[in-house]
């Protein structure tokens, strides 16, 4: 096992990602944040909290998207659905999708499908904490990336959040 990000580094990366988003979307006027259920939401919660310090808190539109029913492996592996909660229109908005780990790109592929069922966004961007480089199965890349790492197939990236795992870090596990 190898630690990729310690608690302190993780906090810094979250701050950096938030500032980068803020830099590109200054007043968040036409921008909405969508966290991917279940584990992307832990990251998006933190980023939204940071963004609240950087711009007017009530200007932030924040939703959660569950992609279970849009997966391409429904019939091979059954996943339990989580709540989707997007209490605003995404029509003509800049959408920033937030997830914890970008690996094969299949989750984001499904998320794009799911998102389009809610309307036609002006632009979609992707923010991820960890990018497992060179393992993509779709032409998808992150616009805001916390840390790029090289991994092999048998390894597993574990992102731990206080509210779920009672500690905060990113680890690389060898199986």
């Amino acid at each position: 096992m190898k630690t990729i990000l310690s608690e302190k580094q993780l906090a810094l990366v979250v701050k950096r990602l938030s500032h980068q988003i803020h830099e590109n979307h200054l007043h968040l006027k036409d921008t909405v944040i969508i966290g991917i259920q279940p584990r992307g939401v832990n990251l998006s919660n933190r980023i939204v909290n940071e963004l609240k310090l950087l711009s007017a808190p009530d200007s932030i539109k924040y939703g959660k998207l569950d992609i279970t029913f849009y997966r391409d492996d429904v019939r091979n592996e059954l996943h339990v659905a989580n709540k989707t909660d997007i209490p605003f229109s995404i029509e003509n908005k800049n959408v920033i999708i937030i997830d914890d780990v970008l690996y094969k790109g299949r989750t984001i592929r499904a998320a794009l499908d799911a998102l389009l069922d809610f309307g036609r966004p002006a632009k979609v961007e992707l923010c991820v904490l960890i990018d497992r480089r060179f393992s993509r199965e779709f032409p998808i890349q992150g616009d805001y990336v916390g840390q790029s790492i090289d991994t092999i197939f048998s390894q597993k990236v574990k992102v731990c959040w206080k509210e779920k795992d009672s500690r905060e870090c990113v680890e690389l596990l060898d199986n």
């Binding site: 029913f69 849009y70 091979n76 996943h79 339990v80 989580n82 989707t84 809610f118």
Partner: protein, 308 residues
């Protein structure tokens, strides 16, 4: 996470975790049905045949809508317009349909146990949409979903099931389900329409006085008098049944409390339920119909898993 069974033949074969999984998945599908695009691509590669050997409006349309909302391909079979009318056996019909690469079978049949028989002989997943006087599992699941939506819980809920218990597959499925989820049940109706050993067999309380049952309960699930299944007179007339066991506004107002009214449809208006009750403020009958689609989506979604 998956169901403990390959088919949905009856509530009898489900455990509490299965029921909870179906209800929570249904709640996610109910959210999908409120969106501008009320459709998800989950079962894009699945073909489902709706095999209806007995008439149905609600259940068939509800299943078909559920299948389409999941992006499955659907085929419809109705007895009157099929070769079964020429004498083809059930197993032959189904095997012929399955040889055309159909993955799942939704089936209603007037013979109790027909889907159980089929499950022994074919590889496809089967969903029972009502078999004779045995079970109607998706109706019980949508009843439970609607009760949970209204009250927030099933445990400890007092449910009166009123009317033709003897011939109702809804009653049996409801009893199995509500028992498993910890609700309290009273069945009420005329003695001729309540099976004699129901207390011993299913451990439910029997009440012959409808007003007493209503006074006790939080929810009254009123069942249809199934005249088509009664081959001997079990009460003297519909008018008399209505007078003694029918539910009307006056009766509800005399209770001094609010109770929720449910009915699986189709209603015999003026027999088991008066119009001012069926369409009244305490009725959740149309919510039941709405929830039916979400519940059936959940069942089909959870059973479509390839390697179970």
């Amino acid at each position: 996470m998956r169901l403990s069974t390959k088919h949905l033949l009856g509530i009898k074969h489900l455990n509490k975790e299965d029921i909870q999984l179906i209800l929570s998945t249904a709640s996610n599908f109910k959210d999908v049905l409120q969106r501008p695009v009320k459709k998800v691509p989950s079962l894009r590669d699945v073909t489902i045949v709706n095999l209806f050997y007995e008439n149905s409006t609600r259940t068939r349309m509800s299943f078909e809508l559920a299948e389409r909302r999941l992006s499955a391909d659907t085929l419809n079979f109705t007895l009157s317009s099929s070769s079964a009318a020429k004498g083809e056996t059930l197993l032959d019909t189904v095997n012929n349909i399955l040889s055309m690469k159909v993955d799942m079978v939704v089936m209603r049949h007037s013979a109790s146990g027909a889907p159980h028989f089929l499950a022994k002989h074919i590889p496809a997943a089967i969903v029972n949409a009502g078999d004779g006087i045995n079970e109607h599992p998706t109706q019980a699941l949508l009843d439970a979903f609607s009760m949970q939506e209204k009250f927030g819980h099933l445990e400890g809920l007092k449910v009166a099931i009123i009317g033709d218990i003897m011939h109702s597959r809804v009653a049996l499925s409801d009893i199995y389900l509500l028992k498993k989820m910890g609700a309290e049940i009273v069945v009420a109706g005329p003695p001729t329409l309540i099976p004699k050993y129901i207390t011993e067999a299913l451990n439910v309380r029997v009440e012959y006085n409808v007003k007493k049952a209503l006074q006790w309960c939080d929810v009254a699930n009123v069942l249809r008098i199934q005249l088509e299944r009664q081959n001997q007179p079990l009460f003297s007339s519909l008018r008399e049944y209505s007078l003694a066991y029918g539910i009307n506004r006056k009766l509800l107002e005399s209770l001094g409390k609010e109770i929720t009214i449910m009915h699986p449809g189709p209603i015999n208006r003026g027999v088991e339920l008066d119009s001012d009750v069926a369409d009244g403020p305490f009725s959740i009958i149309l919510n039941q119909v709405e929830n039916g689609v979400a519940v059936r989506m959940a069942v089909l979604y959870l059973l479509a898993n390839r390697d179970n």
